[in-house]
Amino acid sequence: MKMMKRRRFILSVIGLGFAAAGLQLKVRSGKTSETGDSGEAVDDVYIFFVDVTRCIGCGRCVVACKIENDVPLEPIYFRTWVERYRWFENGRIEIDSPNGGFNGFKDDGGEGVEKSYFVPKLCNQCEEPPCVQVCPVGATFSTEDGVVLVDEKYCIGCRYCIQACPYGARYIYPPSGQVRSRVGTADKCTWCYHRITRGLEPACVKACPTGARKFVFPDSEDARKIRLIKGLRTLKPEMGTKPKVFYRGIDSEVR
């Protein structure tokens, strides 16, 4: 009888353990996406897809973003920007982003250019964001749907997140900006969180005339389609940040 009791106790403990582990798994999968390095995405978080082969470098996305999000107009503050990569005959590579691509790109002859393309950049909304890890007060955080935001009423402006971001996606909102409450705090791309949570696309995606930028809502037809695209890449995968912006058509020089 005593034996039985003990065995039943042990079994129930083991059972409870499994139940707890299961529960934890469920909670975890609800909170974090399972975006692998391969670009495979599970449907519970937003993802962003950039088709570099379609980008014409017009810079409409940069303009739209600055207007939509009150990003200061000076050429050193961007939530999104466009870079131009050019390879020349001798193997030399030239990269530029004049005014972040705000005014588009001048066709300056391009003599000897063998290959070139434009790369739109924005916050990668990393699954393992170093900026969130280093924030000393927790003012920057990941939302349940996988977007990294900054609480401007809480940020102390220490700039550690700016140092920690491998992608240069953050800046300190200057006094010249329109939004008073943001001055002196870290600012960054939110994938237009105020829009996407209402089912609208981010401003940059809306403004893109060629469909180079694609915003992918969880559980949508696009989410499944994008999973099937070959050769998707993320930026600096070696950082272990697990970015959620996926690029088609970039070389390893694009960082």
Binding site: I156, G157, Q163
Partner: protein
């Protein structure tokens, strides 16, 4: 307005951690180093350092009191500074600041200084009247027992606080190194060796500072500095500098031998962008020259040895500041695109300027002056 070279991310045009952030690890390093000098006597029984024991404690306290200033002056929202202690985000290395600082100030330095001075303070309460006597009466914290037994107890407490203080000093400065060393996005910072290099350079700078303060303090009082004491300080400066440089050598050899992505940029950083501050000031003027000076002075023992050791210490202090500069500013010159460099020009006046940095660096000396007047560290010499 915007100076850069090659390709940098547009948001990198601004250098986000200014000269003030170079001043911060410099000051905490001096605190940790000065405390280590004090512990050499207490824990390791280096009796020759007795003349500078109390002075090094007061020096550590003076600099520790000034340590948060460059940080607070740098914040975008200084009025929210206390959030770092009230609502720390524990995965951040920086969130440790409040706790480590408070621990070091309240548990280590103040307690050690209190118990070390307590009996003297009690004797001063009867020696001085008026405001000064009143201040001493407060500083006794009500404990006026000066019996042999009480003195023994005080000694015991000071010993154990120093034992706790040593790893605390290591943590105080090691964690500052970790703030930089853990930034994987920056190839010039990201290294497990960074905290250790910071720690040894802290020892180096702290020893040099104590020597400079002691020699100049003696001059100001018209007293001859104790030659054996200065000589011993110079020895420890030499040993710790050799260790520090060996670590830096290991770090650089690793960078160049492993030659990972971005190695070309790091080479340019050293040979061009930081040539003056790294090669000339940090390495030659701030390290090799003082080492040579100490070795030669020790070998030939000229009459002016105290002066030469002090000169070596001043050069060392310049060299270690250059090291902080090269880490903090140098790391930000290197673009995370690994395709270019940002540039930094330090304003002379205004926020985050040279004059503010110099002001913050001068403040600890003012505090130290007051502390030395209030708690004279010199009596020890006469006493033994």
């Amino acid at each position: 307005m915007i100076g850069f070279e090659g390709f940098i991310y547009p948001n990198e045009a601004e250098i986000y951690w200014s000269v003030l952030i170079a001043v911060y690890p410099y000051i905490t390093g001096l605190v940790a180093g000065a405390f280590i000098v004090a512990s050499l006597l207490r824990v390791f029984n280096v009796a020759k350092l007795k003349p500078v024991y109390r002075l090094s404690l007061l020096t550590a306290l003076a600099f520790l009191l000034a340590a948060p200033l460059p940080l607070i002056a740098h914040l975008g929202h200084p009025e929210r500074a206390f959030e770092i202690m009230l609502t720390p985000h524990l995965s951040s290395a920086m969130a440790g600041f409040g706790f480590i600082y408070a621990w070091y100030l309240l548990v280590v330095l103040l307690i050690e200084i209190y118990y070390d001075y307590r009996r003297d303070i009690v004797s001063w309460t009867s020696k001085f009247t008026g405001v000064r006597g009143f201040v001493y009466r407060i500083l006794t914290l009500g404990d006026t027992d000066v019996s042999e037994g009480a003195a023994k107890k005080d000694e015991n407490i000071v010993f154990w606080i120093t034992v706790i203080g040593l790893p605390s000093a290591a943590i105080l400065h090691g964690y500052v190194g970790f703030i930089f060393g853990s930034v994987k996005a920056n190839p010039w910072w990201s290294s497990p060796l960074t905290p250790i290099i910071f720690l040894f350079s802290a020892m180096v700078s702290g020893i040099a500072l104590v020597m400079v303060v002691y020699v100049f303090g003696s001059k100001l009082r018209g007293v001859k500095p104790n030659v054996a004491c200065v000589d011993t300080l110079a020895s420890y400066l030499l040993y710790s500098y050799i260790l520090d440089l060996s670590l830096e050598f290991v770090e650089l050899s690793h960078i160049f031998y492993a030659a990972e992505e971005g190695i070309g940029l790091i080479s340019t950083l050293i040979t061009d962008k930081l040539f003056l501050s790294f090669v000339v000031i940090q390495m030659i003027v701030g390290a090799l020259l003082p080492l040579l000076l100490i070795v030669l002075t020790k070998t030939f023992k000229p009459k002016s040895q105290v002066g030469l050791f002090t000169l070596a210490s001043i050069l060392t202090l310049i060299g270690v500041f250059a090291m902080r500069w090269n880490v903090v500013i140098g790391g930000q010159l290197l673009s995370k695109t690994l395709h270019g460099f940002s540039s930094y020009s330090m304003p002379i006046f205004g926020a985050e300027s040279l004059s503010l940095a110099l002001g913050i660096l001068a403040l600890p000396f003012v505090i130290l002056y007051i502390l030395v007047r209030l708690l004279p560290p010199w009596e020890v010499e006469a006493g033994g």
